[in-house]
């Protein structure tokens, strides 16, 4: 923003101020909007990257309309196109498939549109479209039923293992790690 004071002539100054009041968030979107050169306030000290680069919005803006892998806190892996989001990383994914992994098998389940609450997001990875089909040799594609059965078995095994460990830990007076928070 230009350094303006109340004593400036109303001609350009006030219009500018009014415009900023009407669209206060305009400057927060993306790298400096065109047609507003030299508005950024220069502070003394070492040169700094523009602050609007360091917002959730700027980070997610780059990923919008891209094919992403979304990993949720419950261990689900969703693959879809990011269409919308907000500052809490609440997300909307389109044409989503869920990829289930179990043992060295995986299966895809078509799901459709997802609206994910931000707190459940672990990470979002942009899929390299050149490499998306090179599935690592350690896993092979299988039918959904087969993978689902195996996964159910794995889950119950892990659950009973976790329970055992938790009882041992709490007997020793330890609060189990991330209790009350599901994380895989």
């Amino acid at each position: 923003m230009e350094r303006l004071s109340l004593n400036d002539s109303p001609a350009g100054g006030q219009q500018q101020q009014q415009r900023n009041r009407q669209f206060p968030q305009q400057n927060d979107l993306g790298p400096s909007a065109p047609g507003q050169p030299g508005q950024q306030q220069q502070t003394s000290g070492p040169p700094q990257l523009p602050p609007q680069m360091f917002t959730t919005a700027a980070q997610l803006l780059d990923l919008t309309d891209k094919k992403l892998v979304l990993v949720l806190r419950d261990g689900r892996k969703l693959i879809g196109v990011l269409r919308s989001w907000d500052q809490f990383a609440n997300l909307v994914l389109q044409e989503t498939i869920e990829r289930i992994y179990a043992g060295n098998l995986y299966a895809d389940v078509p799901r459709g549109i997802f609206l994910v609450r931000g707190e459940n997001v672990l990470l979002l990875g942009e899929v390299d479209l050149d490499r998306e089909d090179d599935v690592p040799s350690s896993v092979t594609k299988a039918s959904f039923e087969e993978v689902f059965e195996l996964k159910k078995k794995e889950d119950s095994q892990r659950k009973s293992g976790d329970k055992k460990r938790h009882t041992h830990l709490s007997a020793l007076g330890f609060e189990p790690e991330h209790s009350g928070e599901i994380l895989f």
Partner: protein, 98 residues
């Protein structure tokens, strides 16, 4: 806000992030925000065999709330400066509380 500023000074450095579910990811720190959400470029997942779903991922947005550790290049951290800054921040906070 101190660690937000601190991470901002580390942009374009290679860092390793360990998540609360034990995944470790190395990549170039591209951006960080007020929640300490982190954007990594040229990611490389250590122990990729265990996490095959991340094999074709090139860059990543990690939610700040699931990060356990961020491992930083030793040469890029001025520990003395950081110590001073944390003390100053603590003093400020104490001043505000009074």
């Amino acid at each position: 806000m101190l660690f937000f500023s601190f991470f901002k000074t580390l942009t374009n450095q290679t860092v390793t992030i360990e998540l609360k579910n034990d995944i470790r990811i190395r990549g170039i720190l591209k951006s960080v925000d007020q929640y300490l959400n982190i954007k990594l470029d040229e990611v490389e997942v250590l122990d990729l065999d265990k996490y095959p779903h991340l094999s074709s991922v090139k860059n990543m947005f990690i939610r700040g709330s699931v990060v356990r550790y961020v491992m930083l290049p030793r040469s890029e951290v001025d520990v003395g400066l950081l110590e001073d800054a944390t003390r100053r921040e603590a003093a400020n906070q104490a001043g505000k509380a009074r």
